[in-house]
């Protein structure tokens, strides 16, 4: 099993370790609910070093990135970040990712842990004709996410980068605990927060994590694991690759039209298929639901819409902050309006669910 450079800290903090995408990572420390509520009310500290970092450098770096992604990277300027889809020819997802514009002719693409090798091969293959160097530096970088209302104060104790003026989806380079780092105002929880990317050996990386946890105590911030990360992102309706988005559902079906820029300057993979689909209209759509009946609908549980079997729950959980059973699923477009009811099979029972507005949770600004 692979270990992040922060691994030793998880054992010191008594994390409950599980295998996740080949990595030895904590599913929780003090408890999933406690950690989830901490992020919503104070703060949580996550090791997300398993995420991948791919660098694009060269005269045609922008063209190469533009050719690969659904969003319009030409809108970026140094210090800005964009969420985008890495798409197949049919407009479905190879992965979803963040694009950081480091400077002119240099971009950092942050990808999902499970997809690093697949994405890197795809990126190299489809940018061979551009004057660009594509480099997978995932193993060099550690990443820590600090999320929640106290994140700014807590992280500020560790860095010379002024955090207060930093806007959402912006980043800066500076020093964190004496190490060169990229600090961005981003996250996967629906809260304000920061993600720190840095290169360090295991001792220094673990120390930073432990120091954040220790300093976090005075703000009631807690180390948090993969369990809370998943329930937090689902309450905020942030898609998970492999569950809610994959290589058989398009960007439009995933209700992510806002990351699709069909009119950008550079032609991109999936553009033609998506232009056609936009013209013809989609026939199914990713929606958020709540259970009307008691129970919890989880990933893979079968759906029945108007008496007809129709796919399965893509993500589902009991939402610890909202205190109700929520989930995501693809429904036929004609049955996807807010308030529409459908059924979910939970073992031998059938329960009723209804389509609701999303995100399920939105933080107060």
């Amino acid at each position: 099993m692979k270990k992040t450079k922060i691994n030793a800290a998880h054992y010191i903090l008594k994390g409950k370790m599980v295998e996740f995408c080949g990595w030895d990572l904590p599913v929780q420390y003090s408890g999933l609910n406690t950690e989830h509520m901490a992020v919503r009310t104070t703060g949580g500290i996550f090791d997300v070093s398993h995420m991948g970092e791919v660098w694009f450098r060269g005269r045609e770096a922008l063209r190469a990135v533009q050719h690969l992604i659904s969003n319009d990277a030409a809108k970026l300027e140094p210090g800005k970040i964009q969420y985008a889809g890495l798409l197949t020819e049919s407009g479905c997802f190879v992965d979803d990712l963040l694009v950081y514009m480091m400077r002119e002719n240099e971009y950092l693409l942050v990808v999902n842990a499970a997809n690093i090798d697949k994405d890197f091969q795809w990126m190299k293959k489809h940018t061979a004709r551009f004057d660009v160097q594509v480099e997978n530096r995932s193993d060099e970088y550690s990443q820590i996410a600090i999320q929640g209302p106290v994140a700014e104060k807590l992280v500020q104790e560790f860095t010379d980068i002024p955090l207060q003026p930093m806007g959402y989806y912006h980043f800066a380079q500076g020093r964190v605990q004496g190490m060169d780092a990229i600090v961005s105002r981003t996250g996967y929880t629906g809260e304000d927060g920061f993600e720190i990317y840095f290169k360090a050996d295991a001792a220094a990386a673990s120390k930073l994590f432990l120091d954040l946890a220790e300093k976090g105590e005075k703000y009631d911030a807690l180390p948090a694991g993969l369990g809370a990360r998943d329930t937090l992102r689902l309450e905020a309706k942030m898609a998970l690759y492999g569950n809610d988005i994959d290589d058989s559902h398009t960007v439009l079906e995933a209700d992510l039209g806002w990351i699709l820029k069909l009119k950008k300057d550079e032609p991109f993979i999936g553009q033609e298929a998506l232009a056609r689909q936009k013209e013809a209209g989609i026939r199914r759509k990713l929606i958020g639901f709540e259970l009307v009946d008691k129970g919890i609908a989880r990933h893979g549980y079968p759906l029945t819409v108007q008496g007809r079997e129709f796919g399965a729950v893509t993500s589902g959980t009991f939402a610890p902050f909202l205190k109700k059973a929520i989930g995501l699923a693809y429904l036929p477009l004609e049955n996807s309006a807010v308030g529409s009811e459908f059924q979910i099979g939970i073992r031998e029972k059938t329960v009723t669910a209804k389509v609701v507005e999303t995100p399920f949770y939105k933080r107060k600004k």
């Binding site: 599913v27 929780q28 408890g31 999933l32 609910n33 989830h36 369990g227 329930t231 008691k294 129970g295 919890i296 989880r298 959980t317 009991f318 610890p320 059973a325 073992r347 029972k349």
Partner: protein, 129 residues
């Protein structure tokens, strides 16, 4: 707590035998592994079950797990308090967090269960894995 007088399964259920009645819950180890319990799907009273059949489901935030019938018999009572307070399973697994009672027709079916000493050894074996 009279944990000494209970019987234990490899699935971390406890069984309290009182004459021809068996009351079933999950152990402290089980509630800890499950994490915060948010919903318990209880069987209907009168439901007939074979030994080993799933009798109830415990849903925590992160997972669902079955509670199995320790013997063949009929559900005689369920803990209705769990409907509004599923967290009783976390707070008092051996007491207020009991799940259901059932009739015992063949007491010999309980023979495979462990006493406290054996269960504690079984837990040590799990911890050592």
């Amino acid at each position: 707590m009279a944990k000494e007088n209970l019987l234990y399964s490899k699935d971390h259920e406890w069984v309290r035998r009182e004459g021809d009645k068996a009351t079933v819950g999950v152990t402290d180890y089980a509630q800890h592994e499950l994490g915060d319990v948010v919903f318990v799907d209880l069987p209907a009273a009168g439901k007939e079950l074979k030994k080993g059949d799933p009798a109830a489901n415990i849903e925590s935030v992160k997972a669902v797990s079955d509670v199995f019938a320790p013997v063949t018999g009929t559900i005689s009572a369920v803990n209705a308090k769990l409907g509004g307070n599923p967290e009783l399973i976390n707070q008092d697994p051996f007491g207020e967090g009991w799940i259901f009672s059932m009739s015992v027709n063949q007491a010999s079916e309980l023979d495979e269960l462990m006493d406290l000493k054996k269960y504690e050894e079984y837990l040590k074996g799990i911890a050592g894995e």
